[in-house]
Amino acid sequence: MDNSRRKFLKIAGLSAIAGIAAPTAFNGLLKGEAQASSASGGGHGGTGAASGKRYGFVIDVSKFARDKGLAQRCIDACHSIHNVPDYGNKKDEIKWIWTDGFENVFPDHSHYKKNADLHDAPILTLCNHCDNPPCVRACPTKATFKNPDGLVLMDFHRCIGCRFCMAACPYGARSFNWRSPRELDAAGNYKYIKNPKPEFPTRMRGVVEKCNMCAERLAEGKIPACVEEARGANAMVFGDLNDPRSRISKVLARKFTIQRKPALGTHPSIFYII
């Protein structure tokens, strides 16, 4: 009798310790890759990355509605410097930045009786560089990760092409190389990359790719190519969301903006002025 009670207490005590310790250990595991879990307690805001920076964009939809060609120029600027192939079909399609309808970019927002301006306004859309990115959580090899400046990037050398990140991304921002982007035409030129830029690599078949917020340009002190293109029309603002004195912070403090699917808790770094 005594013996069994002692046994019971022992087991109960051990279970209690395990119960307390396990979540802590589990959290530790999850945070092992700190880039994967910087979610601050709920809300739609979010904190910064290792460097304390968190780069983001503000996209002014009305400016793009006014200048119908602007969005395409931004897309071309991006796709040409990053050697993004154009296959001319939807199945193999690869895109880093593109335009879509309001109801596609913001399916959670009402588009019943929507504002006439929005009817055919091309909404520029790209990777949201989430502060709490589901793709980074899903990747089994850390091939996609959050860099010290808060950019969600791809390591093309490491990607195994499992496409878990594509299933995880709630914004459809990721593309897969279903075939080799380097196929040659009769003249020996790349068939699907019109003017290849030697400064930036192409990809190989079987890896996932997406917008890298021009990490290679930021390293040289330049701004992302799409923002540079839109600068004349004042249609895009780029900067550090964590710096209260940055222009983007000032714009966000002044204007009402929305993010894509904020309810999912991903904390997008791309804001839209509608």
Partner: protein
Amino acid sequence: MYDTGKIIPGLLVFVGLVTFPIWYGFVSADGHLPNPEKPTKAKQCVESTEFMRTSHMVLLNDWRDNIVREGGSRHGKTADGTEFVRSLHKGCMDCHTSKRKFCDECHTYAAVKPYCWDCHIQPKEAN
């Protein structure tokens, strides 16, 4: 020993097959040893020749991981203070301008096929 007549020839065939790469190399080698072209632009590489000869791929991997993943600097300095770009394309190939005369010399000889140029765009060969 039983079946000596089968086991000994069998063993010989087996040994012959598993050592195929070695003796095939002896037979087919044309006596040509790799002779990568030395650059004229700089006297010294980013590390010693011995290190580069054995570990250039490790160095490239380290640069990549440091720059892409850790936000490391894209510029480095050699021991004697010469600045260089930590980049295969903008760094290495700036001096070693010809992939054919430099990289391929050894890689072909050693039958290694690195996949650098599957993505990075190879500089035009001057010929």
